[in-house]
């Protein structure tokens, strides 16, 4: 008997699922319902308050934030960040239309490469699928325009998130991801990776001393793009 049949057979007999072959499958029923459990009220806010909560929560866990009113402000803001931290004027950007369409050359003297992350990348700029106000979390999805390696290899990670994409809670983002999978003709399929990122990398494994920058980025800088005009 294969290990699969052995394990499943044992479970079926222990759980009493052998006797009635016409039993409805409670697992499939539950999965299709997408039943929502208790959702913390914390994120239940209007848009402006949601963005404020996102900022508060993200800065609590050592992320830094700049608020921009237009994507065209991104190059200047990135450039200012590099200067403030005395970093080389060189960045790796995700091949995402929000970033590739910007006038990096005209506005800054930065050396801009695009592509996936490499071991020697110092600073990356990528685009978040969403933010979650509840815990100041960024939601990154993998894809041709958003390679996951950019989120982890550099020491400085800069992430662009649209104000409109900052949700109150995780469940709201899952619904958006499901809706997108339907639009793309692959309903219910997740991207290869979905990363929730909440602050920069850290460890407390040596004498319980908190240190930032364990294997991932030591600094996480979030650019919230939100046009204040209605």
């Amino acid at each position: 008997m294969s290990a699969r049949d052995d394990i499943l057979g044992k479970l079926r007999s222990k759980l009493g699922h052998l006797s009635d072959p016409n039993l409805t499958n409670p697992a499939l029923t539950h999965i299709q319902e997408h039943y929502k459990n208790l959702i913390p009220k914390r994120g239940d806010l209007d848009k402006a308050q949601r963005i404020d909560l996102f900022c508060n929560e993200a800065t609590r866990i050592n992320a830094t934030i700049a608020r921009l009113s237009s994507t065209s402000d991104i190059p200047d803001s990135v450039s200012a960040y590099l200067r403030a931290h005395q970093l080389p004027a060189r960045i790796k950007i995700a091949p995402h239309p929000t970033l590739t369409g910007l006038e990096w050359q005209a506005k800054t003297s930065l050396m801009v490469e695009q592509g996936r992350g490499q071991g020697d990348d110092g600073v990356s700029v990528s685009v978040a699928f969403a933010g979650v106000a509840e815990t100041g979390t960024l939601v990154m999805t993998s894809g041709p325009e958003t390679p996951t390696s950019l989120n982890f290899l550099p020491l400085d990670h800069i992430v662009v998130v649209q104000g409109d994409d900052i949700a109150g809670n995780y469940e709201a983002v899952w619904e958006r991801i499901r809706a997108k999978s339907v639009d793309e003709g692959q309903p219910g399929t997740l991207p290869r990776t979905v990363n929730w990122i909440t602050g920069p990398s850290r460890t407390a494994d040596i004498e319980q001393t908190l240190l930032l920058g364990a294997h991932g980025p030591q600094r996480l800088h979030i650019l919230i793009v939100d046009d204040p005009r209605p």
Partner: protein, 484 residues
């Protein structure tokens, strides 16, 4: 790993005399519990979420066969492979076969308790493949050839000086006189060493905090980002997980994540929570080309429907360790195997046998703190008592203890006689306990050699209660005597 659980008593004695260990445990005892309490207080829905989390896993365990099949189908749909394994031996062989097919020389690993359970590192080494632990704590103990002493803080028992010595020995290519005093210097050295390993590895082996049936996804939770470099960079990603890790939906996973980090470290959520589904997609610029899940039973299906069924809800947060007076006194290594603390004392006998692990269920004061902080509301003290009952039935334990328990049980079934004997004992001890405590007593040296025994009030609680002594001055007397 060969268990040293049978030597629990010797292990515990050595641990109590271990100065760096005691310093580390003292720090742990004030750190984690305080941060957990703060995180719980910050979220009004925390207790309700614990109820939800418990109910989700109960539902899964009742329907585990259905969920495993649904999960498997989704992994296949996403282009991954599921390998079912009955025991550690099958899992080790499966992982080795995958590595051999991938022509692997180096395997990076992110922290996985199941991988400790099946002792995969030794096995890979024996077969000429280099396994590299990438969680900082795990990396340190791998270099020292030690098992983890805590689920989420595996090197908690070590001082920074011990870590520095370990690095000097292991990183022989670096200048011997380099300064390694500060934790930051140690971290940077490990980061640089491990970065090379991440970039050069052929296979990435991770555990899974959860497996999501809805999408065929594995969830990874870390603060360092090591699990992400492990699953993203190598050509092959292998997930090793036991069958009870299943949750139904993305919503259910989110609920459990809301209690996991709060219970573990007191963070609202860990820095990195990663959902991996299958191999890279055709247009993706990075990610593994192969995705395998090694789905391991290793004793879990035996626990289904048993007295220890509820243990399968455990999400390995470590809260019960952090709050346990025994764990906080002796640390994790004393338990002698992969797991420790109250969850270890319940789980280890199920996995390696009651005979080998017979001391562990007795290494508890049954104070109940573990159950009160368990995010999954697992009745750990009840299950520790179940093991003790089984041991008694199997005639294990010392003759004296068994004789004492039998006598007590005989007496306790005869309430009038019980009260009479108790009254006699309390009266006599009360007479002689003039200064309120005994520093020595016949038959009680196990207690009095380490601490004084408080003298009883001279009258039993029930008899004082019948005399109407409550709430007034003599009521206070009862409370003082009973509590102190």
């Amino acid at each position: 790993m060969h268990p040293t659980s049978p030597q629990f008593k010797q292990n515990a004695r050595a641990a109590l005399a271990d100065v760096p260990l005691q310093a580390a445990l003292a720090k742990l005892a004030v750190g984690f519990p305080v941060r957990r309490a703060e995180a719980a207080a910050r979220l009004p829905e925390f207790e309700g979420l614990r109820d939800n989390a418990r109910d989700i896993k109960n539902h899964v365990l009742e329907n585990l066969d259905y969920y495993l099949e649904a999960y498997e189908k989704k992994v296949n749909d996403a282009g991954g492979h599921v390998h079912w394994c009955r025991d550690a031996e099958e899992a080790r062989q499966t992982i080795l076969d995958i590595c051999r097919k991938a022509d692997a020389r180096t395997v990076t690993k992110s922290k996985s308790m199941i991988s400790e359970e099946i002792a995969i590192n030794t096995f890979l080494e024996e077969n000429g493949i280099e396994p590299v632990e990438t969680d900082l704590g795990e990396y340190i103990i791998q270099l020292r050839k030690e098992p983890p002493s805590h689920i989420i803080a595996p090197a908690i028992h070590l001082s920074k000086e011990q870590v520095a010595d370990t690095f000097r020995l292991a990183h022989g290519d670096l200048a011997h006189d380099r300064p390694l005093v500060e934790p930051r210097a140690l971290l940077e050295e490990a980061r640089a060493k491990l970065r090379e390993k991440f970039l050069g590895a052929d296979v990435g082996l991770t555990g899974a905090n959860m497996l999501i049936a809805e999408t065929g996804t594995n969830v990874l939770v870390t603060n360092e980002g090591n699990a992400d470099l492990t699953n993203n960079l190598p050509r092959v990603h292998v997930v090793i997980a036991s069958i009870e890790k299943i949750v139904p939906t993305l919503e259910d996973a989110s609920t459990i994540l809301r209690v996991l980090a709060r219970s573990a470290t007191g963070q609202d959520i860990s820095v990195y929570t990663t959902f991996c589904t299958g191999p890279k997609r055709p247009q993706d610029l990075d990610g593994p080309e192969e995705y395998h899940v090694v789905l391991l039973d290793n004793g879990r299906s035996d626990m289904i429907g048993s007295e220890f069924h509820e243990m399968l809800r455990c999400i390995r947060c470590g809260a019960c360790l952090n709050h346990c007076p025994i764990y906080k006194s002796v640390g994790g290594h004393a338990y002698g195997w992969v797991y420790s603390g109250p969850m270890g004392a319940v789980l280890i006998p199920s996995l390696i046998g009651m005979e080998e692990a017979q001391h562990l269920p007795n290494a508890s004061t049954l104070c109940g703190k573990c159950e009160s902080v368990c995010p999954m509301r697992i009745p750990l003290p009840k299950m520790l008592r179940k093991w003790r009952e089984r041991q008694f039935k199997a005639e294990m334990g010392s003759t004296t203890a068994r004789w004492a328990l039998k006598s007590w049980a005989w007496l306790a079934r005869r309430p009038a006689l019980y009260r009479f004997v108790l009254g006699l004992g309390v009266g006599v001890l009360g007479q002689f306990g003039g200064r309120g405590r005994f520093s020595a007593l016949p038959f009680a040296s196990g207690w009095t050699s380490k601490r004084d025994l408080a003298a009883p009030a001279g009258d039993t609680f029930i008899s004082q209660y019948h005399k109407g002594a409550r709430g007034d001055q003599s009521g206070d007397l009862i409370r003082n005597k009973v509590c102190g």
